[in-house]
Amino acid sequence: MPKLHSAAELEQLRADILASRDAAKPCIAICAGAACHGLDSLRLVSAFEEEISKHDLGAKLDIRATGCHGFCERGPNVVIGPSNICYFEVKPDDVADIVTHTVNGEVLGRLVYTDPATGQKAIHLDEVPFYKQQTRLLIGDNIKIDPLRIEDYLALGGYAALSKALFAMSPDQVVDEVKKSNLRGRGGGGFPAGLKWETAKNAPSEDRYVIVNGHEGEPGAFMDRALFTGNPHKVLEGLIIGAYAIGAHQGFIYTRHDSPQLISHIERALVQAEDYGLLGGDILGSGFRFTVELHFDVGIFVSGESSALMHSIEGHPPEPRPKYIRTSVAGIWDKPSNLNNVETWANVPQIISRGADWYAGIGTERSKGTKLVSLSGHVANSGVVEVPMGTPLRTIVYDIGGGVAGGKPLKAVHLGGPMGGSIPQQLIDTPLDFDELAKLGAPIGAGGLIVMNEETDMVEVARYLLEYLTNESCGKCVPCREGLRQMLKILTDITSGKGKSGDIAQLEDLSDVTGAACLCALGKTAPDPLHSMFRYFKDEYEARIAAGSAAK
């Protein structure tokens, strides 16, 4: 692999890659994202390979194992480029048929999407209802990329934004562009990324660090790993641009120890980027040096909390510290450390290449760009969804998600993960917007959206989430460890028919203290699901308690 020494060499390499490829040649993209992988899509990949070599069709057909396509519900997914014909629930037995039809330029009707309600068929990706209403700026490239080949990313214009930042912009201009774009952190807080960058950049220190938070520990969230596993270079490019802007020479990627596919893709991406001179001593001949280290979590939810994550990188147990001084000022080894989530970093290259004005044109007044959503629960079409900020939840749940599975009535949607909140179906027209949803007590969080049908037991939902948090708390501070312990006991009593009058008041009293006095955000927001329950579903709690008392 030749090391690139200039922007011109990068463009020459890109031109060479494109010249070596025939854009009109059909390419079979097989989803090997987490869900399809679980459905043994790698067997499909080998079946396609065998079929193609058996008939010596290598000159007529390409195949590519890719990251997550998005429509997990109907996996394994296969998309035939360049016209993006979509086949769903593909089995190894279908492979011969697909190959024959593709070579003949035909569509295999039995595997295309059929609308369960109207019976109408949808052949191409942009006609499938699940995809039609999405704006797939981040996840859309997944079908065009073999995550193990940097050349696929380069062919789509990869690292051009880095080259632009390094050679046509000063670090200050990059920070200004991100500030102007109004990109807000995708990890849950929604803090303006540009402001954080500026703080880290201006904090007095010789050394500073940039970090990708790829922990994604919450139940019901799977969009970050879909993006990171499927397109690791997009995240890495964002990180390198951020490092240049902030003046960091060392970066960390902190991610899951239990996702071997994700790990191998990141490791491979780091090696390839370094081989091409996109990481390391003298990036693209610009004189800017930057290296990245990969770190793994220790299998506990709180290690995704920024200060706990930084403790973990230092080699300590992942326990948070109070952030009276921000981590962007004093983080890893007390040096300024700018941490952003996977999706936040992935937004950076397009902001640099297409400009802040373009980016700020997408979304609502205070929530810009698109948002990845992990759609799951009692929904017909679960999967990874990407929509512009401001999209009504109704569009996500009904138009994209196909409504509640089995046609049952909707009861609630839960957003924001285990420290988020549930809102009732009457609020389904609320836009996907940081501030609008926070006002309702159901923050966007990282982007998990769980659909709940009318049979859902809302007391059990809160009990389940609290049990999760009780196990995932580090146990360091009293109001989290002990407050959650006592709240969980009361909720367990209510769900097992042993509720007492006064339980709600007890829960409110405990959650007041836990919410106010905990050390970190996990503890402080742990009572939030319960607050949303008391705001919208209090009747259900009262009825359960009354029934429990009566049964005695």
């Binding site: 506990i300 147990p317 510290r321 109070p322 009276y324 001084i325 009780t470 196990n471 995932e472 708390s473 580090c474 146990g475 360091k476 501070c477 009293v478 109001p479 460890r481 002990e482 407050g483 959650l484 312990r485 006592q486 006991k489 009293d509 405990l510 007041d512 203290v513 106010a516 006095a517 905990c518 050390l519």
Partner: protein, 206 residues
């Protein structure tokens, strides 16, 4: 060192940059209760009983005074209905584990905490970490540490280190607010190296 003027409970207090609100309050003779604080140890900020209300440019916030740095014109209130409630509930939660610990009982009286509010789970340890931190920071032996997480968190002596280091130290016993450190040590001794301590102590040739 620059002098900083702040206000605690309506009283003008002088402090030095780098001090915490707790240090400034104590220097001014204003009492704030603590459980995990110790003069020889780094502030830890986990018992949360020293929570106070601070006001910066009109914005109020609840913070732990043992870690919050003093700042010019900071307004601090060490008591309020909300602060008292935080302290009361924390005490009630801890009294479920150590119902007779003298420090807790005394504070419970001051804050009207009900010792019997929650069902007893007498582990005796309140996980203030004084033993763990004393052994690490002052003695630099790490003979006792935390194990597990969340509600399963507990202190545990590491037998291999405890066998070598603890028999003529045991300084953590005196700083433990509930005597749980002592109990944990002797349990470790009984399980891992019974009788060893005695034999060791009587071995005058060493």
């Amino acid at each position: 060192m620059s002098e900083i003027l702040l206000q605690i409970d309506g009283k003008a207090v002088k402090a030095v940059a780098g001090m915490t609100v707790l240090q400034a309050a104590r220097a001014a003779g204003i009492a704030i209760p603590t459980l995990c604080d110790h003069p020889d140890l780094e502030p830890y900020g986990v018992c949360r009983i020293c929570t106070v209300e601070v006001e910066v440019r009109g914005r109020k916030n609840d913070v732990v005074s043992c870690l919050y740095p003093v700042a010019r014109d900071l307004v601090v209130r060490t008591r309020s209905e909300k602060i008292d409630k935080i302290r009361r509930v924390i005490l009630e939660e801890l009294l479920a584990h150590a119902p007779n610990a003298p420090d807790l009982v005394a504070l419970a009286q001051e804050y009207g905490a009900d010792r019997d509010r929650f069902a007893k789970e007498p582990s005796f340890c309140i996980l203030c970490g004084l033993c763990v931190r004393y052994c690490a920071e002052v003695k630099q032996k790490n003979a006792v540490g935390f194990i597990e997480r969340g509600v399963r968190r507990e202190i545990s002596f590491i037998p291999e280190i405890a066998e070598q280091e603890c028999w003529d130290c045991q300084e953590c016993f005196a700083i433990c607010p509930t005597s749980a450190a002592q109990a944990a040590y002797f349990l470790t001794e009984a399980l891992a190296f019974p009788g060893k301590r005695k034999a060791h102590a009587h071995d005058v040739s060493r």
